[in-house]
Symmetry: C2
Subunit: 425 residues, 2 copies
């Protein structure tokens, strides 16, 4: 079993060709495969066919999550899950999420062509809307499945994209509004493994090739609305203005400064929207979203407190009253992964590369595994991202690292299955 | 002649009812009548019919400017123009522009029903796209007509709205792509008068009811694009970021601070747009437009210089390289009005109210008259704006002030016509 090898060429060819066909940007190697778009439907249809061809049973749940299950010898056991996502940012890359699903398919193909019989079933999972780029709220459908997210099924169904389409309609439109309950208690897993690119610079900087991920940092999003008074840009004296964009600008600067000053973690304003579309009007309403991430939940709260304290100082200094409101829109608590899964990954990695090539690390990005870890044993495998770049067309992980990650995933699954059979982890 | 009176009730009823029918916002007394929209077509059609009914000849030029000309006794003279605009901001009021056109119609109606024969023809003018809210570039079509604007006919025709519709197609679509040359040398005026609301607080603050406008302050618009490096909001360390939105925020603060500090004039950022629509992505590209206005061109240049000097300081202080580019998109030089027109307005006002009710002033907003003043004698009449509010649904000018403005307009025209006949201004 330890000698079983994935097919590196097939993995990389499949990953590149499916990206080229469904969602490639025309001017770069980047991707735009928004969740539940036509491109997403096409790659889902392809995935389902590939899995059926190698004998998997397909379940689609109420959030469009696809479970492709290869049977094990045991008929009374839950499957070992290998999950990630096929959707991307509007201008993302070919590896974030996609590698994890394609590697899971390569694991299933390898098991199939070598006629390997695992004790437990093995489930490939494509989680819907991990990116939160079309319907707001990242890692949405693994969150619903875990029942631990603050956004339950009906709330997610009702979310609208910028065109006004609801998530439920979008699922129905592409034929992925399934009937399997999106709930781990009714459609469960034994555990969850996820191969992912690091999306940061640490592995590359340290000269390592495999990251054994032990946790995911905590994160919270806050929606801020600044309110001022509209007015004519020519006739309103400077000292008579309540300019919502000027105040918002000072607040956005304060977010950056609070994160840099305290060193508690990272804080980002990624989206800004002004009510005004006229060059000659003083903006009266501006909205933006703050993304705060730290290695512990306490640090997230401390950084958020620091940010809002500096907001109060900014608003107090403005000559005329502008005001701001904050809504906590979304959060993912710090996630600690399970020892059994971490050990399976570490031992699998040691079987493939020297110990000096491996490091333990925390994930600084959110992943579906953060939600699965709330309800089933979970861990992740990281492989290096060139220059730490992600959410960008220049995202890149070498074919060798993609293959190494898939090989570690295969071996981690086999080791976990073996240990779980006897209970001797 | 000095006893000739406009019909105050008719003016105000017409103004309100045409607003209610074509472009009224449903939740306020505000207006959304974007240029060349269906609402604009409807009010234009109505205006053309009203003018025809009282014996005017209609010309529509290549930019859709409507000239409704009431003949004079002289057949070899150019008309005295009374112009303004019927388009509004996306959430504007019922008086900005609209009052000037409705007052001009009321002047024509008054002349008609009193069977007054003027020496020169009188032309009502509805200038297209004064607001620049749908197709960028305010006072666009009077600018083309004057031939002094940096945006000539073909460039304006090619502009696109946010839906991608060109201005030429929009003109054709509503039936207002006329054949009269949009050029004062081929479709000329003797002079141009414009009644407008002040859009600022000065008349109200001073307790005056008529402003004799002697000039329009200079203005320039600059488009700024800030470039950073896209990245993942969770995995990119704070000290490794080139965040275009953080830099843009510091620049927008600097615009406000430079204007407040120098006291040279006003500077506003009314529009901001980020390339990024993802909460989890560090923005790599942000665009905004700066609107700078001062009472002289030298002061405009001095304030712009001060702003860009502070930009360089902001960018130099950023830890990682972000950069910015500036494009001068539009400008309107300081406009000095013509003594003959100013005198006609002042004398007309003195005939209606006490001298203590009248003040000379500069316009701080741009108007079509700024362009006409480049090529024909021009002046304006201001009436008070409640609380100085404009470009806002709360814009308000009392019926009494609307009527007073229209009455001054009528008498200014009659006085000018009289003086022009003999050359004794």
């Amino acid at each position: 079993m330890a000698s079983l090898k994935i097919n590196s060429a097939r993995l990389n060819e499949t990953l590149q060709s499916t990206c080229t066909q469904w969602g490639a940007l025309s001017t770069s190697t980047g991707m735009c495969r928004l969740t539940l778009s036509q491109e997403d439907k096409n790659v889902r249809d392809w995935l389902v066919n590939q899995c059926k061809e190698i004998g998997c049973e397909i379940k689609v749940d109420q959030m469009g999550n696809i479970f492709a299950i290869r049977p094990g010898t045991a008929t009374d056991k839950l499957p070992i899950g290998l999950g990630s996502h096929l959707d991307t940012q509007p201008a993302g890359g070919r590896y974030d999420g996609i590698l994890g699903v394609q590697a899971a398919l390569e694991v299933l193909r390898t098991l199939h062509e070598n006629d390997v019989k695992t004790h437990r079933p093995i489930a490939l999972i494509d989680w819907t809307n991990e990116e939160g780029a079309r319907f707001p709220g990242a890692m949405m459908s693994s969150g619903v499945w875990s029942t631990k997210s603050s956004a339950p099924l009906e709330a997610c169904w009702g979310l609208r994209d910028t065109e006004g389409v609801t998530m439920q309609d979008a699922l129905e439109e592409i034929g992925y509004l399934g009937t399997t309950p999106c709930d781990y208690r009714e459609n469960g897993l034994e555990c969850h493994f996820e191969l992912h690119i690091e999306q940061g610079p640490l592995l590359e900087r340290e000269g390592k090739s495999v990251g054994v991920v032990t946790a995911v940092q905590g994160m919270k999003w806050f929606a801020v609305r600044v309110t001022g008074v509209e007015g004519h840009s020519g006739t309103t004296p400077m000292d008579n203005r309540s300019d919502a964009l000027v105040t918002a600008s000072r607040l956005i600067s304060a977010v950056r400064d609070a994160a840099s000053r305290t060193g508690l973690g990272v804080a980002t304003v990624g989206v800004i929207k002004s009510d005004t579309s006229s060059q000659a009007t003083i903006p009266a309403g501006v909205e933006f979203i703050i993304d705060v991430r730290c290695s512990t939940d306490d640090m997230v709260d401390a950084l958020a407190t620091e940010i809002f304290k500096s907001f109060d100082a900014v608003v107090a200094e403005e000559e005329n009253a502008t005001s701001y409101d904050v809504t906590r829109t979304w959060g993912l608590p710090e996630s600690k992964f399970h020892e059994n899964c971490i050990n399976a990954v570490r031992r699998a990695a040691l079987g493939e590369v020297a110990e000096s090539q491996i490091m333990d690390m925390k994930s600084r990005a959110g992943h579906d595994s953060a939600w699965t870890s709330r309800v089933v044993p979970t861990s992740m495998i990281f492989v290096p991202s060139k220059d730490g770049v992600s959410h960008n067309p220049n995202e890149y992980t070498s074919p060798e690292h993609c293959a190494l990650g898939a090989q570690v995933l295969l071996q981690a699954v086999l080791r976990y299955d073996d240990c779980a059979k006897t209970g001797a982890f």
